[in-house]
Amino acid sequence: MKFTEEHEWLRVEGDVVVVGITSHAAEQLGDVVFVELPEEGTTVSKDDEVVVIESVKAASDILAPLDGEIVEVNTAIADNPGKVNDDPEGDAWFFKMKIEDMSDLDDYMDEAEYKDFIG
């Protein structure tokens, strides 16, 4: 599993990368009440705003961590946004994307580095 400075986790499953937010991020956000997901099939560039996530406190964006194509989105979290707080690093993934070059993932932190990052 890899981690971004935007508090996303990235997990490789075959030829796709599954993206979600970390437990730390979910806790910081507070109770999530709204998630807007991208369309499947959307081509995205790194740092595009692809997901809107709103908690009781504020709205924030999730950025595409890599260049690629959104191949699947988790509609269960749009229907039940509270799942993001219940299981952020499991069932409450946000989207799956196909990327050109898996080696792009190497630029991101591993779990130990992420733990240091959030202190």
């Binding site: 507070g30 109770d31 009440v33 709204f34 807007e36 809107v52 709103e54 009781v56 406190k57 709205a59 749009a78 509270g82």
Partner: protein, 375 residues
């Protein structure tokens, strides 16, 4: 960096694991371990304890009760002289332009009036009271040695009655002096959640013990400012500086109910407060814009600052959202804001622009939840 003031319950908040934020110059709990959503729902289901000690508490005395009341009526458009002993009333400080400088509670406690004003406005309010009332022989005494707690929710009465059963006899907007754990408390049956409940002014030295005793009740959870905001929004209550401010008039804000007939055109004590010309004209003829309840049709919350339009495309702006978010009890996004009067009828569809898209919003009657005051 500006240092933040602390309320007498600051240590308790830290003990309870609160997440603290700066608010109106105070280091205040925004949420405790339950989090905003569960704290909100718990208050509506059982009882919540809030520290609102940052608010200003002010006594007016030094003159006969009638004289105190008539003096205060020069600053607020409400009937103070007709407020009976042991009763409290909502009021507004207005300015010469007919805008609102703050909203407040006025209690008649026999030989004095007791005011509770917003934290962010209290310095200006005290200056306004001194300038306006001291020349009329009134003594203005800001209290700095009392905390203010709010116990809100359907179980509030049962919990507080264990400490003193006298509170059961109080009705909505009653005020009384009540002994709680040996401390002289000034209690009102009121609040800022839409629920039945009490606000308790307690000597600062007794505040933490009282709060801990109330929190020992199985029905009670500590509730932070986050849920305080969502509770008051669902209840349709204004937040000063957001839903009302120095540019919004009472009629625009839908607060005409707070201005009794006696202070209106043709009343026995008509006018005689700042901005009376505009305020009384608007109450009689209607305002150009109105504060309304807003119910976004989709699931996306519309927060403060979202611009409202009459049409899905084009056209001029109608107004703005002034408070908005997700209503934990309604399970939907809810908001309030200002629109042109022509669009203020409940059932009217307007559009809020969110991330470049105009989404449908219905103008609705507030409150969003049923108030459960004990009248």
């Amino acid at each position: 960096m500006e240092t933040l003031d602390r309320t007498p319950l600051h240590g308790l908040h830290l003990d309870l694991g609160a997440k603290m934020v700066g608010f109106a110059g105070y280091d205040m709990p925004v949420q405790y371990r339950l989090g905003v959503l569960k704290e909100h729902l718990h208050t509506r289901a059982a009882a919540g304890l809030f520290d609102v000690s940052h608010m200003g508490q002010v006594i007016l005395d030094g003159a006969a009760p009638e004289q105190l009341a008539l003096a205060l009526e020069t600053l607020v458009p409400v009937d103070v002289a007709g407020l009976k002993e042991g009763r409290q009333r909502y009021a507004l400080f207005t300015n010469d332009a007919g805008g609102i400088e703050d909203d407040l509670m006025i209690a008649n406690r026999g030989d004095h009036l007791f005011l509770v004003v917003n934290a962010a406005c209290k310095g200006a309010d005290i200056a306004r009271l001194r300038a306006g009332l001291e020349p009329q022989g009134v003594t203005v005494r800001p209290l700095t040695d009392r905390a203010l707690l709010a116990l809100q929710g359907p179980e509030a009465e049962a919990v507080l009655a264990r400490l003193n059963p006298a509170v059961r006899d109080m009705r909505f907007m009653d005020v009384a002096t009540v002994d709680l754990l040996g401390a002289e408390c000034w209690i009102s049956r009121s609040g800022y959640t839409g629920e039945d409940g009490f606000e308790i002014s307690v000597p600062e030295a007794a505040a933490a013990d009282l709060a801990r005793a109330l929190l020992k009740a199985p029905e009670v959870e500590p509730i932070g400012l986050g849920a305080r905001d969502s509770l008051r929004l669902e209840a349709g209550l204004c937040l000063y500086g957001h839903d009302i401010d120095s540019t919004t008039s009472p009629a625009e804000a839908g607060l005409g109910w707070a201005i009794q007939k006696l202070r209106r055109a043709g009343g026995a004590r008509e006018g005689g407060f700042p901005g009376a010309d505009r305020i009384l004209t608007e109450l009689a003829q209607g305002a150009q814009r109105r504060r309304v309840g807003l119910r976004p049709e989709g699931r996306a919350p519309m927060r403060e600052g979202v611009t409202l339009y009459a049409e899905a495309e084009g056209g001029a702006a109608l107004g703005q959202v002034t408070s908005g978010g997700f209503g934990p009890s309604t399970g939907t996004p809810i908001a309030m804001g200002y629109v042109d009067a022509a669009y203020s009828t409940p059932g009217t569809m307007v559009y809020g622009e969110l991330r470049g898209k105009r989404l449908p919003v219905e103008v609705v009657v507030m409150p969003f939840v049923t108030q459960t005051y004990k009248r």
